[in-house]
């Protein structure tokens, strides 16, 4: 960084300060009110209202977080949804193509293309240096799920894009070079669609590894369940779009897939919310807890609706919308729960301390690192 750049940064900071800084004494007032709220909470807690989760006793550096909270914005939570939607939509499109369901095929291909476009936007927009997005393509690195995902998404994008392009073949003229394209596109689209079918499952599940391959307690500990949540959630969302767009005569498969996806999502999510001890807690409390409760309601309602709405176009569409909404809420809830777990030192210190103490009796020195 040159001296000139630093100078301009300094000026920026100076000009920002009056607006950016809170008024004098503001922090003290906030502190006092938080103290009052805090004491009120403690009294209620003693009253037994929160007896489910015992208050974790732990030591820390002035109560501050040990970890840095993920700097990803909600772009990434949105991508978790759109990436899964693109993946499962392509798979449905391939199935519909092979079993002669033209509307479902078109819906799947076009949904996949749109979700792919949104995914690309979200991923690049979240970078600190968006203009350097192509640096992702410098390396292929199996220890970085983001690198693996970049290559999966690129390969998937080419195929899903080609499959979607095939949908526009009927709009081309009958003759000439474009006429040739009109005849070639459908078989090419079918081949590309099958390739996208194969790349769909990795695309829908690698994002779970991406979240788990972090030090964020509630994401890392959920590593055995998140891939199933994401696979189920993606299947349910894409089935939901199919239920909204396709006629009743073509929706048989997406009804079955929607119910299966919702069941997988709900079952795996139940494990995430309840089987991981203290680090399950962020999934149940706060705003993200409310999001996930809403997600559960939407997904369950959508699955039931998909089962009973075989004769009603409107009810089918409503069920589909519920499945889509459930998937969106699930992704945002999981994203926020991870952030919350990194913010509070409790979720870092207490499980690690328990781990050390569990090891202590059989090994008398602290450094031992068992698994």
């Amino acid at each position: 960084m040159t001296a000139g750049e630093m100078g301009s940064m300094g000026r920026e900071a100076a000009s920002r300060e009056p607006a950016g800084r809170p008024p004098v004494g503001d922090r003290f007032r906030q502190f006092q009110s938080s103290l009052r709220r805090g004491e009120g909470k403690r009294e209620r807690r003693e009253g037994g209202e929160r007896s489910m989760v015992p208050r974790a006793e732990f030591r820390s550096y002035y109560g501050r977080p040990v970890l840095k909270e993920p700097v990803w914005h909600h772009d990434i939570a949105a991508y978790l949804f759109t990436g899964g939607l693109a993946a499962a939509s392509s798979m449905i499109a391939a199935g519909a193509d092979l079993t002669g369901r033209p509307v479902l095929r078109r819906t799947g291909r076009l949904t996949s293309l749109a979700a792919l476009g949104a995914s690309t936007y979200f991923l690049i927009n979240d970078l600190g240096r968006p203009e350097r997005f192509h640096h992702m393509l410098r390396v292929a690195k199996p220890t970085s799920p983001m690198s693996v995902g970049t290559w999966i998404l690129s390969a998937f994008g080419v195929n899903a894009g080609a499959a979607a392009a095939a949908e526009f073949a009927p709009l081309l003229p009958q003759r000439g070079v474009l006429g040739l394209a009109r005849r070639v596109l459908p078989p090419v689209g079918r081949g590309a669609g099958l390739a996208a079918f194969l790349l769909g499952p990795p695309l829908a599940t690698y994002t779970a590894v991406l979240l788990s391959q972090t030090a964020v307690p509630s994401w890392h500990e959920a590593r055995r369940y998140l891939p199933f949540v994401f696979a189920g959630s993606a299947s349910a969302a894409a089935s939901g779009v199919g239920l909204i767009a396709a006629p009743l005569s073509e929706t048989g498969p997406v009804r079955r897939l929607g119910v299966a996806g919702a069941a997988l999502d709900l079952a795996a999510m139940h494990r995430v919310e309840h089987s991981m001890g203290l680090v399950s807690e962020p999934y149940r409390i706060g705003r993200q807890g409310r999001l996930l409760r809403a997600a559960r309601a939407c997904t369950a309602a959508g699955a039931v609706g998909a089962l009973v709405s075989r004769r009603s176009r409107v009810l089918s569409a409503l069920s589909g919308a519920a499945l889509v909404a459930g998937s969106v809420l699930t992704r945002f809830g999981i994203f926020d729960a991870g952030k919350a777990s990194a913010r509070d030192p409790k979720y870092t210190v207490v499980p690690q301390r328990e781990r050390l103490e569990a090891r202590a009796p059989s090994h008398d020195h602290e450094g031992f690192a068992g698994s």
């Binding site: 630093m6 940064m9 920026e12 950016g20 922090r27 938080s34 030591r59 820390s60 550096y61 109560g63 501050r64 977080p65 040990v66 840095k68 909270e69 700097v71 990803w72 798979m91 449905i92 199935g95 519909a96 092979l98 970078l127 600190g128 240096r129 350097r132 640096h135 410098r138 690195k141 970085s144 983001m146 690198s147 499952p201 990795p202 829908a204 599940t205 690698y206 779970a208 590894v209 788990s212 391959q213 030090a215 964020v216 890392h220 891939p227 994401f230 299947s235 048989g252 498969p253 079955r256 299966a260 990194a342 409790k346 210190v349 690690q352 301390r353 050390l356 450094g367 690192a369 698994s371």
Partner: protein, 360 residues
């Protein structure tokens, strides 16, 4: 893949492909002789041209830096703790003590976590604009800083450190520690970096290439110590380089050079580990039983740190994780689980379309 590439004891530079790599270099930070002068913080900023991190009074003893951020690559932590007078009396003559009936410089076990609970709670609620993301944020649970909270009036404390609510005063000690990037044997940040911006140097350290980093932010979630951080306005991730430029010219890193008490020691890691073991033995010998090494063990969750510490209390008291594990340890298991989920999904779609022998 070579053995222990993801987890376990390892010499990182040869593993990264260096032929004839120099010995692994690192820091041994002996907090028992740190005097909290912050010369390391200043020297680091000067040498590496690190931008300012904002001026503020955090109320965390003499710590107004707050933590390691993209704009603070060294951070001196201050912890105020009461010590029991009885324990000191039992110990006889003052260990490292001062004149007369003054308590020893560091001795005895802490009776609670902090000497002035009210100021600790105030500190925990205070965030700071550091020009980085996420930077230094307030603690979500201030009560964790001080279990025995008393009414805090919000003014700079007029009571002396160690003052109890009843007016009685305990003796107290200051713990000071200069924190830094650990340059792990298995570095979570390096493993997850999707651009190759983070790399392993021939000295076994971990450095970000600023011309490659595209600010994806993955390293920030990957670090089990909460070290690396994103600079606002710049968008890239920054952290300690262990003065890679100085090392290549056979010079000592700036912080170690500036440290007036040799609390920060720089050298070949093997030598530092021997020196640390000797220092620990000495401290235990003179009765400082709370001394322990942190990050020195190649068998720990990150394969040992390139920058390790001698601490006088539990790691979490200094804001360090008590048992950090590199997330990559579980990566093979995670890919396998994802594979199973992917197959489940493919099977579900296939069955949904083909049916189990019947069509609806």
């Amino acid at each position: 893949m070579p053995e222990n590439s993801l987890y376990g004891p390892l010499d990182p530079a040869p593993d990264a492909g260096y032929v004839d790599a120099p010995p692994r270099m690192g820091f041994f930070t002996d907090t028992s002789v740190c005097i909290g002068c912050k010369a390391c913080e200043v020297a680091c900023k000067e040498w590496n041209n690190v931008p300012e991190h904002g001026l503020d009074l955090l109320g965390m003893s003499y710590d107004n830096t707050g933590g390691l951020t993209a704009n603070s690559w060294r951070h001196v932590a201050f912890i105020e703790q009461p010590v029991s007078r009885d324990r000191l009396a039992d110990r006889g003559t003052g260990v490292g003590g001062q004149a007369g009936n003054q308590p020893p410089a560091f001795a005895g076990m802490p009776t609670t976590t902090v000497a002035a609970p009210e100021s600790a709670v105030a500190a925990a609620t205070t965030g700071k604009e550091t020009g980085t993301e996420p930077g230094v944020v307030p603690g979500p649970e201030p009560a964790a800083a001080a279990p025995a909270t008393t009414q805090f009036l919000g003014m700079p404390s007029s009571v002396l450190p160690g003052q109890l609510p009843g007016g009685e005063r305990t003796d107290f000690r200051w713990l000071m520690m200069s924190n830094v990037c650990k340059h792990c044997t298995h570095a979570g940040c390096l493993d997850v970096c999707p651009t190759g911006a983070l790399f392993r140097t021939e000295f076994g350290t971990v450095v970000v290439q600023e011309d490659i980093c595209n600010g994806c932010g993955y390293c920030i979630s990957g670090c089990p110590y909460g070290v690396i951080d994103q600079r606002k306005g710049d968008g890239r991730a920054w952290k300690c380089t262990l003065c890679y430029d100085r090392l290549r010219d056979d010079m000592m890193p700036a912080c170690a050079k500036a440290c007036p008490t040799e609390s920060i020691q720089y050298g070949p890691l093997d030598e530092l580990r021997e020196r640390a073991a000797a220092r620990l033995e000495h401290l235990h010998g003179i009765g400082e039983t709370s001394a322990r090494l942190y990050g020195n063990d190649p068998e720990d969750g990150v394969g040992g740190d390139g920058a390790f510490f001698l601490l006088l209390d539990e790691p979490e008291v200094y804001g360090l994780p008590p048992d950090p594990v590199v997330p990559t340890r579980d990566l093979p298991e995670m890919w396998r689980t994802a594979g199973k989920a992917a197959l489940t999904m493919a099977a579900a779609v296939a069955v949904a379309f083909l049916g189990l022998g019947r069509r609806r």
